[in-house]
Point group: C3
Chain length 213, copies 3
């Protein structure tokens, strides 16, 4: 099960990167250290947790494997310590975050297929896994979720999950599929950041509100 | 199963109307098209999804019937295209939204009864189904949920679900019950809008905060 | 089952206290009476509901015992009536809230152990039960969750749950464990309020945002 170990290793990197984005967001709201750990934890495991709740897939991963929770709490607190040097590491951090996004999207799709759900559900769950940790982070920090506005984050998740599911349907060997999907997701996200790619925005500022609100 | 088809048809109208309110709310926050689809989707199916999670009723409707997801994504994107004419259609839109509110409240109560839950739970689940799509929409858009402040929206949901459950308890024929409950919910909401009915507001602006916050 | 009755009685006090904090928070946002009931209800049962969803523990308590829902709705509305005198009762109210925090944390841990989950999960679920009602309240009211910033609220929950789980592991008699854990949690919270104890805050105001947001 070498490929399972490989994906687990990448998953752990992704989880820790997400915990760090959560911890930094908590710091921007001047939360205390407990808030930092909760927001870090919710960011790291929120997407996967929401996926499993939507699929009714119990027990949850972190309920069975509690050492993940401890690693996440640790990563959140370490973030506080290294925050002063984060700005010098921002490129590295963005790369790790991009890797995490790709890994989460693939794992979310993979788990759904293993559970017997159809390909469209698998792609949707890839996006839920990849993206909703950040959405939960922004809700806890009382912000409009940033991934709905920025740099193809969610689109990368969607296309990465779709690519993985598509190659799987074509019976591509799992190892090859993982590496191709991962390389695509990671590369696409990094290029989107570098060239500031984005998709069109919907700006609706009606003077009269059709919904009566 | 003609009444099931009738209610399914109305449900679809309600879902699409809710997707549109979500898409417009996303546009007010200048989200990108992906954010529009996510907020539209969460608004359309969020209430029913929360109901089924609270009841432990798996698999979720949209996990089994993925064409709904595609219709919702489509409705959200169409909203972007027709947004410029929305203000001329605002009365039509409010009527469709009122219909959706009544249908969701009835369906939420109906499903709970079919699953064997008691009448009070059924009414609560009618309100969850009718109202929480909009609550999730407002949370994603970082606003105080509007339905907690406006025009009897939630009260209409509560009374519509209670009427349906009450008539069911009286063994009224399902067809008659559906039409009476639907007519009541739709009519009540339209009248509340027209005459700006509301229930009292609780305005608590303590200088000293008793909760210590 | 006297200890079960004792803990049920304290739980009810805690639930009603939480409903009141929710109702007051709704009042600060000038919600209507329905919003008051929903926010009061979500605050009172949100933590326990989230715990049971995370554990896949169905049916939910309030789905089986609907009289709790009715008591919560009643407590929320009573809060509106007695709001004018709340400021004179603030010390009493804080004490009841502290009791509720301790009781919820213990019950969350206890339930998880009874369901066969390991001690670390039990402590985490104690915190989820004790704290997330308030988090949901603040999300519905569009605020940064206050418990992430104030007076050891979450830390009291964590230590209370850990103490209960620890004494349980040492085979301390349940009655003694309940009273010791409860006394500890209540006393610790009251002292934290009195002496304004807090844990360090993480203040991260980077000019350049390492996450690219």
């Amino acid at each position: 099960m070498q490929e399972a170990q490989f994906i687990s290793f990448l998953w752990l990197i992704g989880v820790l990167a997400e915990a760090m984005t959560g911890a930094l967001a908590a710091g921007r709201k001047q939360m205390d250290l407990f808030g930092v750990v909760i927001v870090g934890g919710a960011t790291a495991i929120g997407g996967g947790t929401l996926r499993d709740i939507l699929l009714g897939n119990y027990p949850l991963v972190w309920v069975e494997h509690i050492h993940y929770l401890i690693a996440i709490a640790f990563a959140s607190l370490v973030t506080v310590l290294i925050a002063p040097v984060m700005r010098y590491l921002s490129k590295l951090f963005l790369a790790i975050d991009a890797l995490g996004l790709a890994v989460f999207s693939i794992i979310g799709a993979q788990k759904s297929l293993v559970l017997g759900f159809n390909p469209v559900v698998a792609v949707v769950m890839g996006v839920v896994t990849g993206v909703f940790g950040g959405v939960i982070r922004d809700i806890l920090c009382n912000q409009v979720p940033l991934i709905f506005r920025k740099e193809l984050y969610a689109v990368v998740s969607l296309l990465t999950a779709a690519l993985y599911v598509g190659l799987k349907a074509l019976d591509v060997i799992e190892w090859v599929n993982l590496i191709v999907s991962l390389g695509f997701g990671f590369g696409f996200r990094m290029l989107a950041l570098k060239y500031k790619w984005s998709i069109p925005t919907f700006d609706y500022q009606a003077e009269t509100d059709p919904h009566g609100h």
